[in-house]
Subunit: 442 residues, 2 copies
Amino acid sequence: MAITHDKSKKSFTLLILLALTLQTMAQEKQKFLSAKESEPSNFGWMEGFPPPAAKVLHSGDGSFFKFPAIRYSVVHMREFLPTIRVSKGLKAPSVMTYELDGKIDELTFTPWNTTKKMTWEESLAQNYTDGMIILHKGKVIYERYFGALTETEVHAVMSLTKSLNGTLASILVAEGTLDETKLVPFYVPELKNSAYADATVRDVMDMTTALNYSEDYANPNADVWQFSNAGNPLPKPKDYKGPEGYYEYLETVKKQGVHGEIFGYKTVNADALGWIIARASGKSVNELLSERIWSKIGMEQDAYYQVDSKGIAFTGGGFNAGLRDLARFGELLRKQGNWNGEQLFPAKAVQDIARGGSVAAFEKSEHPGLKGWSYRNMWWITENKDGAYAARGVHGQTIYIDPFAEMVLVRLSSHPVAGNAANDATSLPAYQAVADYLINKK
Amino acid sequence: MAITHDKSKKSFTLLILLALTLQTMAQEKQKFLSAKESEPSNFGWMEGFPPPAAKVLHSGDGSFFKFPAIRYSVVHMREFLPTIRVSKGLKAPSVMTYELDGKIDELTFTPWNTTKKMTWEESLAQNYTDGMIILHKGKVIYERYFGALTETEVHAVMSLTKSLNGTLASILVAEGTLDETKLVPFYVPELKNSAYADATVRDVMDMTTALNYSEDYANPNADVWQFSNAGNPLPKPKDYKGPEGYYEYLETVKKQGVHGEIFGYKTVNADALGWIIARASGKSVNELLSERIWSKIGMEQDAYYQVDSKGIAFTGGGFNAGLRDLARFGELLRKQGNWNGEQLFPAKAVQDIARGGSVAAFEKSEHPGLKGWSYRNMWWITENKDGAYAARGVHGQTIYIDPFAEMVLVRLSSHPVAGNAANDATSLPAYQAVADYLINKK
C-alpha cells in the first residue's frame, strides 16, 4: 500500500484514526450496562403469572446466564436446574454480633494501573456487587445487598465452590483419612487411564496436574464446554456420543506435560478432587460438607449444589449459599476450625491452606494481575504481608480472609465479565484498604 | 361352545380354574414388594460415586417414579427437577412439645371390608408409610420415620399440595382480596375462551367445574398426561406443538356439562386456582405461602414446589415439605389461624373449610370409599361426628385434622398404587381408632 505524503490527507487519516479510537474507547466503556442500569428489577425477568415470553429465561438455551439476565439468575439457580441440598440441620442460626462501621463506605483506594482514587462505596457498583459483608474479629462491621440478592436468598458462588472442596480435602488429610502422597487411582481406579493416572492427590489439590485440557471460556471449542455438556443434567441429544456426567468426562482427560511443576487452573481438577473426597470419606461431597461444616456452625440457610444426571454435585462450580453463611464459613477458617470454643477439625487443616503453595509453580501460569501469589488446597494465597488468602469464583465471587487484620470479607456479584481480571483492579486494593483501616484501628 | 358333560373333565376344568384363581390371587398379593422389601436402602438408588447405571434414576424417562424407585424419589425430587423454594425465613424453629404415647402402636382397628383386626403399627408398613406424626392438643404424641425419610428431609406431598392452595384462597376470600362469586376471567382474562369462562372462583375452589378433561392415570391418552407434558420443565421435543407451561395448557381446557353441580376431582382446577391466587394477591403462590404461613409459624425447613419451564409452581401437586412442618401447618388450621396467641388470618378462613361442601355434588362423583364426604376449598371433608377434614395426595399422603379429638395427623408415604382407594381401607379407620382413643383419654 502506498503511503500518502499529502499532508492534509495524512492529517485527515490521523483524525479518522483518533475518532475511531475514541469511539472504541467509548464503546468499551459502554459495552455493558452499569450495575444500576442492569438491576434485575429493571427487566422483570421471570416476573408475572406467567412471565411474558421475552422475560422467560432458560438453562437449556443458556439465556439465563447471559448478561444482564445473569444478574437475576445467580440468585435463582435451583429454579432452572436440578440441585442437591447441603443441609444446615434443624438448629437455630448462630447469632452474629453487629458493630456496623459507617466509615467504611468513605475509605478510598487507588485501583490498579490508575492514579485516580475510588471510594469503597463506588467500588461496589463498579463490580456489580450483589452482596458484601465484612467481619472484623468475628463481628459484622459492614453488610449490603443489591441486585436480586437479599438476606433470605442464596447466590451462586461459581468457582468459589472449589475452595470448599479444598477445605474438605485439607480436613481429611489433617485427620489422616486422605493421603495426599497417593496417586489418584488409589482412591479412584476409574481414572487409571486418564491424565490422573500418575498424578498425586497433592497435585490435584494444588492444580499442578499437567492436563491436555483448555478452559478458555471465550473459545467455543474449549474442552470446558465438553465437560459442561457431560455434566448437564438435562437429557442429552439423541446423537450425543460423549461422556455422561462429570466423572465419566474426567476419565477421558489426557495428560500433557509433567505433573507438579506448573499451576494450571482447571475446573476438572476440582471435580476430580470431589471424586477423591467422596471415595476417601465414603460420603458425597454435599453430605460431607453438611456433616462437617454446614450443620455445625449455626448456618441460617440450607445451601445447595447443581447436580449432573447421576445426582453428582458439581464441586467445580455449582455451589449456592447465603452471604452471611459464607461469612460464617470464612470466620471458621480464620479461627482455624475453632467455633465458639469447639475445635471442629484440626487447626492444621487451615494452617496448611494459609501457608500457601508454590509461588514458582504459580508464576509459570497466566495470572498477570496476581503477581507473587500461590495456590494451595484450592485456595488463592496472596502471599502478602497480612497472610491473606481467598476463595474466588468468576463474575466476582470471593471469600477473602485477612488473618492479620482479623477480617473476613465475602462478596457475591454478577459482573458482566466472567474472568476476575475484570474486577480485581477495583477489588483487591479495596479489600486491602479496609484491612489497613482495621489494622490501624486496633 | 359345547358344554362338557363329562364329570371328570368338568372337575378338571374347575380344578384348573381354581388353580388359576389361586395363582392370580397370589400374584395379586405378590404384585408389589412389601414396605420392608422395597426399602430404598435395599436397592441403593443413586448410591455410589457415581452410582452404577442400573441404580441411576431419571425424571426424563419416568424411571424415578416407578415403584419401588418412587420410595427413594419422594424424598429427592429437587435432585431430578428444577424447583422453587418456599422460604421458612431465618428464625429459629418453633419448639414442639413431646408427650409420646407408647400405647398407640398397639391400638387396633378393623380395616374396611374385612373382619380381621389390624394394629396401628401394622398399618404403617401396610401403607408404605415414610413418615407419621400425630399431635394431640398441639403436643407430639407419635412420630416415626421409615424408607428414605428422616426428620431433616422433605417429602413430595403430591395432591396434598392442592389443600395449601385452597387454604390460601380461603384466606384471601376471608380477607376480601378474592371474591369467590366472580367468574374466573375477572382474575385471569387469559381463560376467557376456556371451560373456565363462565365458572366462578367458588366452582374452582370446590372442583365443581364441568370440564372435558380426563384424569385417569391408568389411561396413557388421558388429558392429565398432556397437562403434565405442558408443565414439564425439560426442553420439549422439536416436534412438540402443544402448550408450554401449566397456564398455557389451562387455556385449552374445554367445558363439558354444567358448572356447580358435580364434584369432579381434576388437578387442572388446582393450577387454575393457583393462577387466580397469584393474580388476586399479586404474588406467586410460593411467595404467598412463604409470606403468610411458612415464615410465620417457626418451620424447621424450607419447603419447595416443582416448577414448569416458566418458573411457575406446580400448585396442583408439586409441593415438598418436612413431616413436622406439615404437622405445624395442620395445627395452625386446627387452631383456626391462631398461632401461640397471634391470629395470622381470619378464623373464618378455616371455618369455611371445616364446614364442608356439597355432599350431593360429592355423591355424584366416583369416590365409593368416601361415602357421605364432601369437598371444600380443596380439602376433603369427612362429614363425620368429629368434623374431621383432610388434605390428600396420591400414594398415601395426608394431613388429617380431627377437631373434636384435638388431633392433627400427617402421613407421608410411597404406596405402590397411586390412588388412595388402595390405602384408605387401612388408613381412615386407623386414624379414627387413634381419634377415639384420644377422645376417651380426655
